[in-house]
Amino acid sequence: MPAVSKGDGMRGLAVFISDIRNCKSKEAEIKRINKELANIRSKFKGDKALDGYSKKKYVCKLLFIFLLGHDIDFGHMEAVNLLSSNKYTEKQIGYLFISVLVNSNSELIRLINNAIKNDLSSRNPTFMCLALHCIANVGSREMAEAFAGEIPRILVAGDTMDSVKQSAALCLLRLYKASPDLVLMGEWTSRVVHLLNDQHMGVVTAAISLITCLSSKNPDEFKTCVSLAVSRLSRIVSSASTDLQDYTYYFVPAPWLSCKLLRLLQCYPPPEDGAVKGRLVECLETILNKAQEPPKSKKVQHSNAKNAILFEAISLIIHYDSEPNLLVRACNQLGQFLQHRETNLRYLALESMCTLASSEFSHEAVKTHIETVINALKTERDVSVRQRAADLLYAMCDRSNAKQIVAEMLSYLETADYSIREEMVLKVAILAEKYAVDYSWYVDTILNLIRIAGDYVSEEVWYRVIQIVINRDDVQGYAAKTVFEALQAPACHENMVKVGGYILGEFGNLIAGDPRSSPLVQFNLLHSKFHLCSVPTRALLLSAYIKFINLFPETKATIQEVLRSDSQIRNSDVELQQRAVEYLKLSSIASTDVLATVLEEMPPFPERESSILAKLKKKKGPGAVSVELEDGKERGELNGGGDRGGDAAIAASNASTPSPSADLLGLRSAAPVSGAAPSAGSLLVDVFSEAGPAATSAGVNDDGFLSALHAPEASDSPLVEGPGDSDSAPPTAASEDPAPPLPESDELLNKFVCKNNGVLFENQLLQIGIKSEYRQNLGRMYLFYGNKTSVQFVSFNTTVSCPGELQSQLNVQTKTVEPLVEGGAQVQQVINIECLTDFIDAPLLNIKFRYGGALQNISLKLPVTINKFFQPTEMAAADFFQRWKQLSQPQQEAQKIFKASHGMDTEVLKAKLLGLGTALLENVDPNPENYVCAGVIQTKAQQVGCLLRLEPNAQAQPGEQMYRLTLRSSKDTVSQRVCDLLAEQF
């Protein structure tokens, strides 16, 4: 039993808690709990009306059981009953139970809200506070709907008690965070700002959190708070430590309020009014001065509170980024902390310096601490502190110290914690690329990276080194020599073999003059690693071998023999076997000229943002990457390719990064890649140049896409049938989170199963048109956002996301659109899609923008469906039926019988089946009324053959016409999905 039990201890509760604590095992505990639950249940159900005390006791027991981690599914009603008790203690327990256990149970919420309403109007401050605490704790939308109007009134009313004001301010904050659309700005807002002047420090402390949140969202409406905040801050900073009585904490006057005031000021630019600004600068200087004064207490609470204010002041100085003097002083102060004996201060100093490093005024000052930071990286015992040190080194890196920092980070990598290795590798790779003056250093660094931390070197990193070597001819010879040497190591990482294979395959000739690295030596070296490697690496090596045959005719016989061996040509892996067979054939029948053309050196890669940087950004979130590749000039220099000009370069830069298991070498087919600038009319750029121009799939529209980038035309399908029930209210969920998809979005999706172009969505404000084209497992979609009004849309932002498992099934990339859409104007967005494996859900498109101040938030399903990746397959009747029979297992078939919702017009049906992407096979089905189709769905992981049969009973009366649709494919999920999609179309 506890030493002290205040208030009225509920003895029954204490006994129960003791019992639980005395349980020797988990089972005993559960048994005891179940017994208690049964007891409580019977009490609650019993005929005898329970008195308030018992109800309170049992509700409290339930709460305790819940907090132990068990589920509670009754007692809510009894808790709600307690709310209307006029005994404070019962009411209090009732509210506690509701706060902890009720989320938004819609039946109860009405009763709860009623009780709250009574307490709010009771004019009893203690009851009012209880009610406000409950609203702040639950914070549900239903509560916001009921009270968002009332609470601001309580907050600013002249006769409200201070303690009630405090609760009301934070209660309103919680409601505003949860449902900003329900808290309407009004006459109260200006009075809230003036709470900063309130005499009661507690009221100011509570109110400032509310004001800060409101200001960050509506800076203009609250900008008068700046001067009020500065004068309040100034009064606190200059007060003696005893002036503020109980608001002084360990000799520091009002530390919480000071931090909040400094934080509020960070919502705004520096004050324009000279006097206000002068006063603020004075405050900041005083805070910096105080840091140098001897401490008034040895207690850590004193220094923590003091330094909390100091760090917040430094954040404000960095935020303003306009006072060189203060910035340098801040930097010096942090420099002192870097060597402080308190780990917490070292951690925070490293963190804060990271942001200082990006200011032009303090970058140099930060750099002077490089040795201390390197030392921290080496000696700090806490990994989270070392992580900060690594971040800071990354942030302070520039041309002058890049070599030193990269070297230190590399040597740290050898012993670095596993948790931060991958990020370290990315950072080293980025710094090496960004500050590479001579590229031999860059190549050395990346190869070292692979040697030291090969497992953590992601694809992006080794792709990048290859891109750069290919684009820079001055480094190719050095790269070949270096990888050749690196491969000599008896055990080298598979990533090294990949880079080695690729580079020697391209540039092995540059070192072949030296007898120590003659063609055959190179080949034998690579091939000695072959058997230890995984399938993708082996595939890459096979491509390197065929390139060798072109580079060095003298190796042809040896390599052909390798290709011919059973382990290659009969390899159980389809990809390897296919490569071996094709390469062998290619090397035997193609003339030297053809071979030289096919296997020509890779053309320079298009310039693009470093994929590594993109990855780091993704890992850390935007804004966390303070070192950006500075400008196009620098990147141009890096990639070696100047302006290659013209549409081709632009189009090419949209091409997706070469995918890993597919070949970097572009060798999947025999078509030459190099120099073949994609024609302007073609939508998809041939990264891997499939079987040449003849391969244009039938599902693809041939109308020159690039020439048709204006409004979506109503050419190929009835566009007007659109979703335009424009008299219904526009979807305007004002939350910042993406709205849930519109209820009609599934229907919209269905509209696009059999067509690629049209109007996806339309309301009074916005029209969204779509044009899209697919080839193989790749797709490109153009979205056109048309502003139908005469007023501009601001903060226009769209995002495409793949929910859930779709993320691993589709690879979707977009570029951001301009944030401003003028009235009547249209903006365009390109979306690149790669189908990795078959999928069911559709990607979500979220559109947010402000129209006349109101946030519009619309989510739709992007019409990307699995059938888009169909390639039509023509076949004769015999073939069709043979395959049909082969796919006879029950799970391979999906069937639906359904009523015709449109007429059975033959031409319309045919158009839809063709639109699906399959080939419509004539003269196959013995019944000429039936339709059969065949196609192959192309995903990166596999190809799925698919057969389809549609049987209408056209003779039936209109209204009774039915279809039977049968799908067979090698994959059950595909059969089912295509069947579901298609069944909606007729």
């Binding site: 506890p2 029954g12 914070g139 989270s384």
Partner: protein
């Protein structure tokens, strides 16, 4: 602040306060992960860590860990002192507080917290004012108790 957890060295949760809407399942997962992460840290390590997209600030007092999750722009040191002030409040109220006080009077620990922090932000940082509010509530409780009829002992200990 997004949430506050109190847990013992054995990893038992003693108090949890959530200031953002999360499902029960998410709460349990977060508590489990975080308790494990913090218990694995050595005593001299720093009180802050990055965890998912949050900053965790924690401190151990005797057998209890106090742990707060704050957002990116929040101040770590002042959060550390929020924890300390809460400990001071508990200490003053219970008179050298120990883990058992919080177990047996968990509802009081919640009431004190609600007076100090609301919606994840400081409502009243003056120790005197917070304790005054709680004591007033206790007085109301005493009144209520006196007004009630005495109950049988058996009923008191929960055996009826």
């Amino acid at each position: 602040m997004q949430f506050m957890l109190l847990f013992s060295r054995q990893g038992k949760l003693r108090l949890q306060k959530w200031y953002v809407p999360l499902s029960d399942k998410e709460r349990k997962k977060i508590s489990r992960d975080l308790v494990q992460t913090i218990l694995a840290r050595k005593p001299k390590m720093c009180s802050f860590l990055e965890w998912r997209d949050l900053k965790i600030v924690y401190k151990r007092y005797a057998s209890l860990y106090f742990c707060c999750a704050v957002e990116d722009q929040d101040n770590e040191l002042i959060t550390l002192e929020i924890i300390h002030r809460y400990v001071e409040l508990l200490d003053k109220y219970f008179g050298s507080v120990c883990e058992l006080d919080i177990i047996f009077n968990f509802e009081k620990a919640y009431f004190i917290l609600d007076e100090f922090l609301l919606g994840g932000e400081a409502q009243e940082t003056s120790k005197k004012n917070v304790l005054k509010a709680i004591e007033q509530a206790d007085l109301l409780q005493e009144d209520a108790k006196e007004a009630e009829a005495p109950r049988s002992v058996l009923e008191e200990i929960g055996l009826t």
